[in-house]
Symmetry: D2
Subunit: 416 residues, 4 copies
């Protein structure tokens, strides 16, 4: 899913310029370990080639910022408007999504030239008098997708290529799970008028919550393994109907990237194939798997409102994107509630519906979030592939309930 954000807000243009440059550099750093072939491949329709991410984010600034705001700007190549439009109907026809991997041209080198051309124009724009309203959040979303899409593509290669050297070392134990209680009541939900946020986080409104409890940390691989070993994938009473159909027809019996050879569980990671670490949070589960696990545990998933009411009270800190080690870590020891931010996007028990009085952005960006508000589930909190300054308590991510290639995990809840 791609979503942008353009909000008028007073700001120093130097801050924008600096954040823009930092974001663009990080994107390119993420592509560095990859050769031209790796950057061109598309392993499934939901994923995109890395090269396409590099070009699309550039197209985004060119089309929605430079064309609108930089007088005399000339597009790098007018045909790119068709090639690198993601889903904006208002911006004309576009290359079919499942065929992005067939675009061997422009080459990676040509795409890098395109990036530099647009970066130079953006610098000119930033240098003009007055502040400017461009934000880099849109490109940050693709940084996470670059990692998840490369992981998916590499996982299908029998050679099991590593994106990064095998250097994962993590704590061997996770703290015991305990329950944190919340009183509920009428709680403010969503982002107020000021500050950056996507349109789907607005407007701020009030929601009435009953008392509830949240688990102090994410479900671990070890706990999930117990679910598997207890026949979790063979007991229909634990599953939503669509989920049961899915695991039957696709023959699923473990999270994505898990494999079992001679009784030994291994996990494919961006640092190569690793032995399963019981203390690490489980990731790459679908909503169906998350819900079945919760049912098996005698608990439930939190609603997105329960999550946000808890998250708003916590600092936005956690295991976010580290280009050298994009992988979840065991929860740290301590009494508080851990891992609300970072490590894994948390599936909630909330369908992705519009907030009361929701209004999409104006212009082409109107297509950014609202048109996907059907058939998807809200995830909260960011993951180990999310840039640290990209997340906030009101942030609503969303994916179809069957999606497994994101760093999606499980936090349990219960009624108080």
């Amino acid at each position: 899913m791609y979503r942008t954000a353009l909000k008028d807000m007073p700001s120093d243009h130097a801050v924008f310029a600096s954040r823009y440059a930092t974001t663009r550099q990080l994107t390119e750093k993420l592509a560095e370990p990859l050769g031209p072939e790796d950057q061109c491949v598309q392993s499934m329709p939901d994923a995109s080639p890395v090269k396409w991410h590099l070009a699309h984010t550039t197209w985004f600034f060119e089309t929605l910022v430079l064309m609108a705001h930089l007088p005399g700007y000339e597009p790098y190549d007018r045909r790119y408007r068709y090639l690198f439009n993601s889903y904006y109907e208002a911006l004309g026809p576009r290359h079919p999504r499942p065929q992005r991997g067939l675009l061997t041209r422009p080459t990676v080198a040509e795409v890098m030239d395109y990036r530099h051309y647009v970066d130079a124009a953006m610098r000119r724009l930033f240098e003009r008098a007055g502040c400017f309203d461009a934000d880099s959040a849109a490109e940050q979303q693709h940084q996470e997708l670059i990692l998840t899409d490369v992981k998916h593509a590499f996982s299908g290669n029998p050679l099991s290529p590593s994106y990064l050297p095998a250097a994962i070392e993590s704590e061997k134990t996770a703290p015991p799970l305990h329950w944190r209680e919340y009183a509920g009541g009428v709680m403010p939900i969503g982002c107020g008028e000021h500050g950056f946020a996507f349109d789907n986080e607005r407007p701020r409104h009030r929601v009435l919550l009953a008392p509830y409890r949240l688990a102090s940390r994410l479900v671990t691989c070890g706990e999930y393994l117990a679910f598997i070993q207890d026949g979790g994938y063979r007991r229909p009473e634990l599953w939503l109907s669509d989920g049961w159909t899915l695991i039957q027809t696709q023959g699923l019996d473990a999270p994505l990237y898990w494999s079992n050879t001679s009784g030994k569980w291994q996990i494919f990671t961006l640092n190569g194939v690793q032995p399963l670490q019981p203390a690490e949070p489980v990731v790459h589960v679908s909503f169906y798997e998350a819900a079945a696990y919760a049912e098996w545990a005698g608990k439930r998933l939190p609603t997105e409102f329960e999550w946000e009411a808890a998250g708003a009270a916590e600092p936005v800190a956690g295991n976010f994107l580290d280009p050298a080690r994009p992988h979840p870590k065991p929860a740290p020891p301590g009494e508080g509630i851990a891992q609300l931010y970072g490590d894994a996007w948390e599936w909630t028990r909330s369908s992705y519906d519009p907030y009361p009085r929701f209004k999409p952005l104006e212009g082409p960006a109107a297509e950014y979030n609202g048109k996907f508000m059907c058939g998807q589930i809200v995830l909260r909190g960011g993951s180990c592939a999310t840039p640290a300054d990209h997340i906030r308590s009101t942030y609503r991510n969303f994916f179809p309930p069957s999606a497994r290639w994101q760093f999606s995990g499980i936090r349990l809840a219960e009624d108080a």
Copy 2:
């Protein structure tokens, strides 16, 4: 969708016996205009043969009531447990849903024998001392499905067979649409502990609503036609993303059963093909179409909570199932809010999520509603094919957003 209900409640068994008999007779009356071939066909996987509905509802009483409560009861044919189980995993394997139409045996006559055998046993059960907790709501749901499934099957026959004689005469005008305002606030939602309801309507809980307005009647065919003529099906900005993809890939440009020959619109009904009546409510639209229409009209769909808060204050009265004329009617004249009940199921802007502290029924009936709480949209109010004593303000129907073969229509809402 099939859902049952078994609730303990004090009651006179004579009431149950009478209601049972009435329900069973109505079901058979609905099958009367149909020959053996008509009752055997299955026109799509979502629909079922009439004969299957006749047998499945019988299987339901046999399996969930007689086997559990009537000592010494012998099943009519033990193989029917496999043939006529709808989706209960706890009750063992079952005939694949898309292949129900291939079951030419048992014949219609044999299924009627099966019904009579079970009816006789049910009478014995009702005659036993004490009250009994069986309810006929489950079979009533299939009465509506018999009509919608026959309509779908007949609509695909180039001979355009009529289920009933062509006798539709309706008012030629609908009253002007006006807006009814609701103050919102903390409202009770769902069914309390007493009285019959399905599990998905419970528990009763409180929801905080902002002020809102509802349209005084359903959207009419004439109003929907204006949407079509204004290019509604060709403007992507009006549509949810999945809806736009659907109408593109399937080439949709009008509600189900509408056809345009030489500029003249006609509608296939259970009383044969009829000229479009502008004053009648539009039915057989998907959630996507309902949402696109609302967007075009500058309005929105109500949430299921807004609908229930309004519906709870109105008498449960309207154009419900009349076996001689299962078709929506124009709204009656008057100042109040019309058609909340009957005529058309109203698509809401609420995904079908569980209520806080929702608990499924015990036993096999646990599979009745909860396992479908993903990927579906709530509809409210009942239709012209819903038995009058089957509906209530807390009733939550649900279908996938693409479903069009039900009598589903549109009521607009707006913020106050």
Copy 3:
């Protein structure tokens, strides 16, 4: 496959009238054991409802004979031209083949009225002075299809309905297989100018054959079972590439209608489920299975020319259609070559290509055979479901190599 035949030939019209009446009566006799539901169902796109066969053959005489030759003839219902056209592009659009089973109307009773209406008109035509050139071969082809299509539909019903009472009694042993040698040379192939034949059997021409041998009888179920037990379905080296893919993707491990319960083989027949009879010829195998069996046996399948050169020297006699027992029988004892005619259509090692100087029929019948000459395999000799007077040595049946629902079997050949 449907194919017609209209050949000018001198003849007594009484012969035609009699043969017409006999054919029509036999068709209706074949439908007698079936109820209305049984006659309406279509269990796969390749099969058709019995009711459709009853109507299509009637449409055939109405459209290609009565409309052309009986002055003043009025069609029974002009809409049937669309409903019951099989595949004649020249005769306009037609109901989609996979949706024939959705036509609950006209009912079986109405189709019988249609038949009687056309029969009366045909009698008037036969009574006119002079001879007439209609032939009943086209309807005879559908007699065989009625049986194979009903068998397929009933086989998918868990109740295992029987078309006929369980009355199969056959010889328990088959004679030993020996080899009959043929000298080859330049052999005449195909039908000469006189006498009835389909267009694909003409013109008569010469083919050069090397010496060869044919097995004295069909492969038996017992012999085929040895192939299965020797791992025949698990050894890719025995299979054509497409065949191997097919059995892998569909999980095939035995002929159609064979089942193995607790180590005991049973076969679903038109007379109900029966224990496998080792002496009976194996039927319901695909070309792929026939070819794999031959490979396993160290032999090969005969070409259609080798078959015809042998068949031309034998009387056209064998186990043909007996409405009371449509099932293959063990070969009779004796020295000669047995079962060339009847029992099972024999897969040849010949693709269905046109004969040199092949010319299709004139008019709509041009579409009868020629347009299917691609991607199909020739079968020879007729089966236990073929009317005795329908077959001849030059007759070329054809089906795709994957087809299994016909009475198709195996005769081995080898080089001499």
Copy 4:
């Protein structure tokens, strides 16, 4: 389709070594204009990435030659046995064909290292005393596929990349078509015992042919355009049934790579998009299109035997693979029969059946040709992408009747 050949025959090993080196160099020359992304993409399941062709041909020599004949040979990477096996069941499991394009590793550079490693070992093998029986024909087949697969991949890119500079200049006129008559009779067909040939060309045998005529050259683009303009794609009576279904469901109305913009026809070629040249032979047509064209022209396609009888009498000369211009040319002026060899593979009216007494090769190569002898059509004569020393009069190429991405064209025939 991939097929190999290993025949024992006396020969000078220097000839083999030289031919091997030449073949390997040509393959790499064909890959030279392509970047790493271009060599990794797979545009459809029937096509393969160039990188895969480079590796598979290397795997072929490694597995079937070096492992068997060079003592002490160590495979380059044992995992390649799985990755680069095409379809040899006897050589174990293999990477699924439709997923070849997902293998971004090994990179192009690593595949080139693999090639050099194997080349060095092959040189050692050639230097050993005695002659050796390896042949380079297998790799030559992939040279043609490299060109057709790149063409297909590039054609789907909206940027219309050119494999080679736009340098096509050809004669603007084709000589008039005249007819060459052949007497037929008993003709030898297939390859004798000596000399190199694939197994499907053997054994040599005799076929009886009636007199016939062949067109003096291939059908041109201009002639094919007349067929289109005469409604060729809208007249079902011209088409085989499967072909008509195909063009309807896929919406085909011209050969692959043809496009019509504002009434002007253009053709995508390996030298970029070019205006249609009426004098050039039409290529990239399916068998269905070839047969429909012949029907429209009142002619037919030749059988493979008619073609071979004619081809055997002609020198093997024509427009073969020129790496600088892989494109068909107009027929040269002259009285003789032209273009039998080169320019375009000619669809015959012969299904791909085994020759009498056909025997596959021994060992893994048994899977080379025989297992594809079902459902395919024979093509003859080689194309503008076929290496000149790869073709001969007995050569049988084969593809499914729907294949269009090869350089396949049309030669007409008629009865004499």
